[in-house]
Symmetry: C2
Subunit: 274 residues, 2 copies
């Protein structure tokens, strides 16, 4: 019985993605296994009854209370889910009620507010930024480069592309990226196109060992992937960044979320992004 | 005084991105303005004291208690932030304490667990899926198409690319996308390459009006963007999806999060993605 993973339901009237990500983080604090099930779009009493049934069935089947993380704005739906045979972590009302007191304001209790509305400017900005980042991936285009909020530079496979896409998708930040290649190192200067955007540049570097490992997955045994070549490129790229006064960080041990957060901290002081 | 937006701090020992997204959703329930400031990487007592200072300065400056959403695992850091002149919404301990009781387990209180660890399989899967989706964007490559978890089809600008990237980035799902073009409609069949992957196909459609508007932003006044042509393409694409028995949905009023959630619900019943 000890080895049955506890079931965790994420029940939301929207996608439940934020609640799911949040509950992951909370549950990662416990050294045991969980079985997570997301029940999205629980925005009618019918769906709420189905969800209730599913939770209660799970409780009977395993003889263990499931854990429910809920973000349900509607009072009636919320009460129904609270009546389940589960431990309910009400992520919505736990915080909304004290905020109503502090702000001396009633919440709108509007469903759908909890998730992204595609009519908002911030949603449109995100989609536009994704398109921008795709069009300006890997130095593909110099068109409209002046519109970029940030231009990442670094050797091939240092993490520029996923970081750009993350910045676009999460924050609507238009980010381009530009590879630093052996030609640039021989010439000893930044690619010509970048000179006038110097203030937008941000560098990514990476440990040569890690770079060689990543490149070997793509082109096993190539000169491109060899540790010697990776050492050379990384060294040259770092020297160039220091010479040109480009802020940079190492992506070796950082997730795209962490890299993006650090970049934002730096570019935020110049631009008012929030 | 009524018009000063309340300051909301997101204080985290990691990136604070999840807490930020979550607090956005909660605050969207109130019809007033907030000024959000994220303070990431508060993982030492030094940084905690800086954060405390910033919160308290804000309180004095505006004569209003700031609101703090915190996800701080470390007890000492957490207590320091709780001592601030703010209303603290402790997103971490609020849920961890009751879970410890229910699970009869102590949490590890390990910092860093709260955010993505790049050494986990799920992180590696996400990065690999991003690369896969980029390589298989817009029918660019048929190589390794059999590795795709899902292949989105639809007319140009129906939302395939951002959805694929979101599925990859959030869930590590390898998604390819393939445009349906007038050639396919004239021939009256799916692109040849897709025949053997019929079970992986998922269709996106869009209202012709909305499509015409999106395409006009790209190529104003073109035949491609004309309402008449958009009507034709959308009609043909929908007929093809129905004929070929491809599940589909309309992206017109849906965010990439909502589209992705619906796709996951459908493909999940086949594959054990969780």
């Amino acid at each position: 019985m000890q080895n049955i993973p506890r079931t965790v339901f994420i029940i939301s009237d929207g996608t439940g993605i934020t609640a799911e990500t949040f509950s992951h983080s909370i549950l990662a604090q416990f050294e045991t296994n969980f079985h997570q099930i997301r029940l999205p779009f629980v925005n009618t009493m019918d769906r709420a009854r189905q969800a209730l049934q599913e939770v209660n069935n799970n409780a009977s089947k395993y003889g263990l209370k499931p854990i429910v993380f809920s973000t349900l704005v509607n009072q009636e739906i919320n009460e129904l889910i609270h009546s389940s045979n589960a431990m309910v972590m009400d992520m919505f009302h736990t915080f909304v009620a004290p905020l109503e007191n502090e702000l001396n304001l009633k919440s709108t209790h509007a469903m759908g507010r909890f998730h992204q509305n595609i009519e908002t400017q911030s949603y449109k900005d995100r989609i536009e930024a994704i398109n921008f980042s795709l069009a300006h991936d890997d130095g593909q285009s110099h068109k409209n480069l002046e519109d970029a909020d940030v231009i990442l530079v670094g050797v091939s496979r240092s993490g520029k592309t996923p970081t750009c896409l993350y910045l676009a998708m999460q924050y609507g930040i238009k980010s381009a990226n530009y590879p630093l290649i052996p030609d640039d190192f021989e010439r000893g200067t930044l690619p010509t196109e970048l000179h006038k955007y110097r203030t937008k540049l941000f560098g990514l570097t990476i440990e040569p060992q890690r770079l060689s490992q990543i490149r070997n997955e793509r082109r096993p045994g190539s000169k491109y992937a060899s540790l010697e070549n990776c050492r050379y490129e990384v060294n040259e790229a770092q020297s160039m960044m220091e010479r040109e006064n480009i802020p940079w960080l190492s992506s070796t041990h950082k997730s795209i979320e962490e890299i993006s957060t650090t970049i934002l901290q730096i570019i935020k002081s110049d631009k008012n992004l929030y």
